[in-house]
C-alpha cells in the first residue's frame, strides 16, 4: 500500500463539480428516466373549478377504454391517514384533513378527485378526459382579505371561518423580545410610518417537473418510491403514516432531482396515491407531472399582505418595528405551511437595532393551490418589508437610504452571539463592512452624481438605485427551538464516513442535494480533514436504503448542518485512527500530530498514514484491546444555533416612464456566508438566488380570476425570465466566520432570493421618486410602473 502525504488543501478552492459528468452528457437519472418492467401510467382527474361540490363521478367510459387498467375515486382508494402536516404552530391552528383524493368537494382548481391507471402515458391522458364528474360549482374566494369577510365562501365548512389561526410573537415565541412597541407608537416625538405591501403568489418552477415511480415486490410487501423530492427521509416517514406501510418495507429514493426551491419539499397527494395504487394493483406505477398541471398541483409561495410600522427619531434612529401579516395558505395546510411566515418572525427589524418589536401573523384559507416553502420561505418576505420600509423612512426623514441604514446597523463589536430586538441570538456579522464593499463596487457617489445630472438634463430614461441590506436565520435548525415552535421534527442531520479497506472513503449524508453541488463540497471537506485524495471520496445521498437517517435539503442547511455533521464524524474517525496509530507506533496519543493524512510522532519521522490505518482496522489483526474493527463513524448533529448569513445588495435600474419598462442595468451582491468551502459554488448559488429574486420583483405572479381560475396557467403566461431578461451579476463577498460551528460556515442557498426583491423595487421607486411615486407593487410590471406614475401625477 502506497503511503503519500497530502498537504494541498481543497477546502476553500473552486473545485469543479463531481456532479457534472452525467448531467452534461445526458446520462443523468431523473425520475422520468426510470422505467420498471410492467409499469403502468397514472393520471389525475382534477377539478376544473376552484370550489365545487362533487355530486357524482362516472368512471364507466374511462374504465372501458382499451388499455385502461383501473380508475378510482376518493372513496375507492383508501389511506391510513390524511396527508401529514408537520407544523401545527400552536393550539389555534385549524388543520383540515387533506385526503390525497378529495371526496366531498374540490377546494382549488386542480384538486384531484379521481385517478386513472393505464398502459401508456398517452392512454392515461385519454382516460382522464373520459371521467365524468357531476360538479356543482360553488362561489370561490381567492383574495386573502375577502376570505376573512363575514360573508365569504368558506373553504372548510367545519371551521365556519377561513381563519386558519394566528401566531403572536409576544405570546408564542420561546425567546422574549426586547420590549413592546405601543409606547413608541404613542410617542408624539417620534416619526412614524406605516406601509402595506402585497406579495404576489409565486410558482417555484423547478425546471424538472415532479414525478413518482413506485416499484413493488408484492409477495414481500416491499415498495420502492422514486420521487423527484428534496426530502426522501421525511417523505418515507410521512408516507408510512399516510399509507400504513411500515418504514422497514418502504424505500424512498430521490434520484437525480432537477431543482427544488422548496417545491419538492412537500408530501404531495401524488406520492401517496402512487404508493397506494402500487399496493392495490400489485404493479409498478409512474406519474409524471405536466408543467401546466404542476402550476395547479405543485405548491405556490409567498402570497401575503404585510402591514409594517416603523417609529424612529427625527434624526433617524430606529426605535420600534411592528408587523402584522396575513398569509395565504391556499386550500389546505401543507407540510410546513402554517409556520412559513414564522420563519421570518424574528427578522422584520432586519440588520438594525431597535428598542421594541412586535410581530404577528394570521393564516387564511382560500380557494387556491396550497402554499408552502418557496426559496427563502418567510425570510425574503421579512427582508422585503423592512428594506422597503427603511427606504420609505429615509424619504420621510429626507435622509439618504444608505446613511439611514448605516446609522441603525447593529455594530460589529456587539458580536459574536448578540441577542437582537426580536429575541434570537445572531452569531456574527459585519453589516457596515458588507455595505461599504457594495458601495465601493458600485461607486455610489458617482452614481448619485450621474442620476442628478440626468435629472437636470431631463433624460427620458430615469435612473434609480436601490439597496437591500439583509440578514437571515438559516441552517435549519436547532431542535430545541423547533420543539418550542411546535415543529413536528428535529433539525439535526446525519453523516457517516467509512474508510473502505483500500483507503477510499465512502461518505453518506442525510441531506439530499438536487443541484447545490453538495457531493463536491462534502468531498472537499472530507478530503482535507482526513488527508485523502479528493477523488478518493465518494459521497452518497438521497436513498433511504443507503442513508437511513437524515433531514434532507432545504433552508440553506446542506453546508450549515450537513457538512458540519460530516466534519464532526471526521473528528471521530481521526480520534479512533489516532488510538490505532498510537498502538502501532507504540507511543502516547498525545505525542501524535495529524497532518495531511499522517499521524507523526512529534519530533520524529515515524508516522502512520490514515489509509494504512484504515486497512489495518479492516484486517483487524492488530487492534488495541476493545477496539472494534473498521474505521468509520456516524454523527447526528444538532446545530446549537441558527447560522446568520447576511449581505448588502444593490440594483441599478433604468425606467422608461412612457412604457413602464424596467431595465436592470447593474446588480451587485456582496454576501457574507461565513467561511466558503467552494467559492465557485457560493457564487453560483448567489447567481441563481438573485435571478429568482429579480424574477419575483419584475416578472412572476400567479394570477387568478374572480372564479378562482389560474390565468397564468402555463409557462407562456407565468413569466420565468430567460437569459435576455436578466443582467450579468457582480458578485463579491466578505467573510465573517460563524462561531456556532467548527467550520465557520453559514449557508448561501437563499441569500440572493432574500436580498434581491427589495433592492430592485427600491431602485424603481428611487428612479420614479421625482415624479412622486412612493410604491410600486410587485412584480413591477410595465403596466404597474406606468400606473404608479399616472397615479402620482394625478
Amino acid at each position: 500500500m502506497s503511503v503519500t502525504e497530502r498537504t494541498s488543501k481543497v477546502i476553500g478552492t473552486s473545485q469543479l463539480r463531481k456532479e457534472d459528468a452525467e448531467l452534461i452528457t445526458g446520462r443523468a437519472r431523473f425520475v422520468d428516466n426510470i422505467t420498471v418492467p410492467g409499469m403502468l401510467w397514472v393520471g389525475l382527474v382534477r377539478s376544473p373549478f376552484a370550489h365545487a361540490r362533487i355530486n357524482g363521478i362516472d368512471v364507466a367510459k374511462a374504465r372501458e377504454l382499451p388499455g385502461v387498467v383501473a380508475v378510482y375515486t376518493g372513496d375507492e382508494l383508501e389511506f391510513a391517514a390524511p396527508l401529514f402536516m408537520a407544523w401545527p404552530i400552536n393550539d389555534e391552528v385549524k388543520n383540515p384533513p387533506h385526503h390525497p383524493l378529495t371526496k366531498d368537494k374540490a377546494r382549488y382548481a386542480g384538486d384531484p378527485v379521481a385517478v386513472v391507471v393505464a398502459e401508456s402515458r398517452a392512454l392515461a391522458k385519454d382516460a382522464i378526459e373520459l371521467v365524468d364528474v357531476d360538479w356543482e360549482q360553488l362561489p370561490a374566494v381567492t383574495d386573502i382579505r375577502a376570505a376573512l369577510e363575514p360573508d365569504a365562501p368558506i373553504v372548510h365548512e367545519e371551521f365556519g371561518t377561513n381563519n386558519a389561526g394566528s401566531w403572536i410573537l409576544e405570546r408564542d415565541s420561546p425567546v422574549p423580545r426586547r420590549g413592546p412597541t405601543a409606547p413608541f407608537f404613542d410617542d408624539p416625538q417620534l416619526v412614524k410610518i406605516k406601509q402595506e405591501y402585497r406579495l404576489a403568489r409565486l410558482i417555484p418552477n423547478a425546471i424538472e417537473p415532479r414525478g413518482v415511480v413506485v416499484d413493488v415486490n408484492a409477495p414481500m410487501g416491499e415498495y420502492t418510491v422514486y420521487s423527484a423530492t428534496q426530502i426522501p427521509h421525511i417523505l418515507r416517514t410521512t408516507l408510512t403514516i399516510t399509507c400504513g406501510i411500515p418504514e422497514a418495507k418502504l424505500r424512498v429514493v430521490a434520484p437525480d432531482v432537477g431543482g427544488g426551491f422548496g417545491s419538492k419539499l412537500e408530501i404531495y397527494p401524488e406520492d401517496a396515491i402512487c404508493l397506494a395504487l402500487a399496493r392495490k394493483l400489485g404493479r409498478p406505477v409512474k406519474w409524471i407531472e405536466e408543467r401546466s398541471e404542476g402550476y395547479l398541483a405543485t405548491l405556490h409561495g409567498r402570497e401575503m399582505i404585510q402591514e409594517i410600522e416603523l417609529a424612529a427619531t427625527r434624526d433617524g434612529v430606529l426605535k420600534a418595528v411592528r408587523v402584522n401579516l396575513t398569509a395565504s395558505m391556499g386550500a389546505y395546510l401543507r407540510l410546513v405551511a402554517p409556520g412559513i411566515p414564522m420563519l421570518g418572525a424574528w427578522l422584520y427589524h432586519g440588520c438594525y437595532e431597535c428598542d421594541a418589536y412586535d410581530f404577528q401573523y394570521t393564516n387564511v384559507f382560500t380557494n387556491n393551490t396550497f402554499t408552502d416553502a418557496y426559496r427563502g420561505a418567510g425570510r425574503p418576505e421579512a427582508t422585503y418589508a423592512i428594506e422597503r420600509s427603511m427606504d420609505a423612512l429615509a424619504r420621510e426623514l429626507g435622509m439618504d437610504p444608505v446613511e439611514l441604514r448605516r446609522k441603525n446597523f447593529i455594530a460589529k463589536d456587539k458580536f459574536p452571539n448578540y441577542t437582537i430586538a426580536s429575541g434570537l441570538t445572531v452569531d456574527s456579522a459585519d453589516y457596515h463592512g458588507t455595505l461599504d464593499k457594495c458601495l465601493e463596487v458600485l461607486d455610489y457617489d458617482a452614481l448619485r452624481a450621474e442620476q442628478k445630472a440626468r435629472r437636470e438634463r431631463g433624460d427620458r430614461k430615469l435612473l434609480g438605485v436601490g439597496f437591500s441590506t439583509w440578514n437571515e436565520m438559516c441552517g435549519l435548525a436547532p431542535t430545541r427551538v423547533l420543539a418550542a415552535l411546535n415543529y413536528g421534527a428535529g433539525g439535526w442531520d446525519a453523516a457517516t464516513i467509512e474508510f473502505m479497506p483500500t483507503g477510499t472513503v465512502r461518505v453518506v449524508t442525510g441531506v439530499s442535494p438536487h443541484g447545490q453541488g453538495s457531493v463536491t463540497v462534502f468531498a472537499q471537506v472530507v478530503a482535507d480533514q482526513l488527508g485523502v485524495d479528493y477523488d478518493d471520496v465518494e459521497v452518497l445521498h438521497g436513498d433511504t436504503q443507503v442513508s437511513p437517517l437524515g433531514m434532507d435539503t432545504y433552508g440553506s442547511r446542506g453546508v450549515a448542518v450537513g457538512s458540519v455533521a460530516l466534519h464532526r464524524a471526521g473528528e471521530k474517525i481521526i480520534a479512533k485512527a489516532r488510538t490505532l496509530a498510537a498502538h502501532e507506533l507504540e507511543c502516547a496519543e498525545e505525542d501524535l500530530e495529524f497532518e495531511g493524512g499522517n499521524f507523526t510522532v512529534k519530533g520524529t519521522d515515524r508516522s502512520a498514514n490514515i489509509k494504512g490505518l484504515a486497512f489495518n482496522s479492516w484486517t483487524a489483526h492488530n487492534l488495541p484491546d476493545g477496539m472494534e474493527p473498521g474505521l468509520g463513524a456516524t454523527e447526528l448533529y444538532d446545530p446549537p444555533n441558527f447560522s446568520w448569513p447576511n449581505g448588502a445588495h444593490c440594483c441599478v435600474v433604468e425606467v422608461d416612464p412612457d412604457t413602464g419598462s424596467v431595465d436592470t442595468v447593474r446588480y451587485i451582491a456582496v454576501d457574507d456566508c461565513g467561511v466558503q468551502l467552494n467559492p465557485m459554488l457560493v457564487e453560483g448559488q448567489v447567481h441563481g438566488g438573485v435571478a429568482q429574486g429579480i424574477a419575483e420583483a419584475l416578472f412572476e405572479e400567479a394570477r387568478y380570476d374572480d372564479e378562482g381560475n389560474l390565468v397564468t396557467g402555463t409557462m407562456t403566461t407565468y413569466l420565468v425570465p430567460g437569459p435576455p431578461e436578466l443582467p450579468p451579476f457582480e458578485v463579491h463577498d466578505t467573510v465573517t466566520p460563524s462561531p456556532t460551528n467548527a467550520m465557520g460556515v453559514k449557508g448561501i442557498g437563499e441569500a440572493g432570493t432574500i436580498a434581491a426583491p427589495p433592492a430592485v423595487i427600491n431602485a424603481i421607486v428611487d428612479a420614479l421618486s421625482p415624479l412622486g411615486v412612493k410604491n410600486v407593487e410587485r412584480p413591477a410590471t410595465p403596466e404597474r410602473v406606468w400606473r404608479a406614475i399616472q397615479e402620482a401625477r394625478s
Binding site: R121, K125, T659, R703, T712, P724, P782
Partner: protein
Amino acid sequence: MIPARFDYEVAESVEHAIELLDGNDDAKLLAGGHSLLPLMKLRLARPAALVDIGRLSALAGVSNGSGPLLRIGALTRHHELANDPLVQEHCPILAYTAGLVGDRQVRHRGTIGGSLAHGDPAGDLATIALTLDAQIVARGPNGERTIDAAEFFKGFYETALAPNELITEVRIPKTEAAHWSYIKFRRRALDWATVGVAAVVESANGGIEAARIGLTNMGPTPLRATAVEQALAGASTDSVEAAAAKADEGTSPPADSFASADFRRHLSRVLTARAVEEALSR
C-alpha cells in the same frame, strides 16, 4: 402534453394536399407545426386528421420576380426569412421581424404560411403582411386565387382561407426605398407581442409623404392604424407625436395577464410615435 389521437397523411403535392383536405372537414394542415402543435398538446385543438405539407419543398424559399413583388414560398421558415439576402435587401422589415418571432428554435421550424394561416392577432408576421399590403396566394379545389392581406384576416384565429385551401406563396411588395421600423413590446424575448407596431414611411422634401402603420395584438386581427396614416400623409416630421396619439382609434385590444386593454391602447400610441421616429432615422 400529448395530443388527442388523429389520422396523419403526408401530402405528396399541393394537389394531393388539397384532395386530402377536401375530403375531411376536420383535417388541418401541418407545416412547421409551431402554431398548431402547441394547441394540440394542450388539447385545445383536436383535429381528426393532419395533412403534413412539410415535405413540399417547392413551397419553400424566396425568389425575386422581375416586378415589384418578392415571392416567398409558404413553407419558408422564419429563420430563413430573417437571413435571406433577398429579403434583407428588398424587404428589410420582414427579415428583421421574422427574427423576432418566438425564439431561435421556433424560428427554425415555424413557417410564414403557417403563421398567416393561424390568424393569431399577436403574430408579428401577420402585421407585416398587412402593413406592406402583401398578397396571399391560396390554392384550393377550384384553383388558385390571390387574397389581399387587407381581406385575409377576418377575425380572431379566422382567415379568408377555406378549409380546403392552402397558402402556397406570399407576395410582398419590395420596400427597400422606404424607412421602416417594427417595435415589438414584450415582457420576455420569447413572448408574443403585448403590442407590436410596424411603421413603413416614405419621406420627401424633409417631410412625410406617406406612412403605413400596422398594429399587433390590438384587436381580433392585425390592424392598420388608418387614423395615424391619414394624419401623417404629407405631414411634417414634427407632427408625429400628435398623429401617433390616434394609434388606438378603432382598435379593440384584448385584456389578459400581460396587459389591460387600456395599457395596450397607451402602448400603441407611445410605440407608434417611436416606430415612426425610428423609421425616419433609418
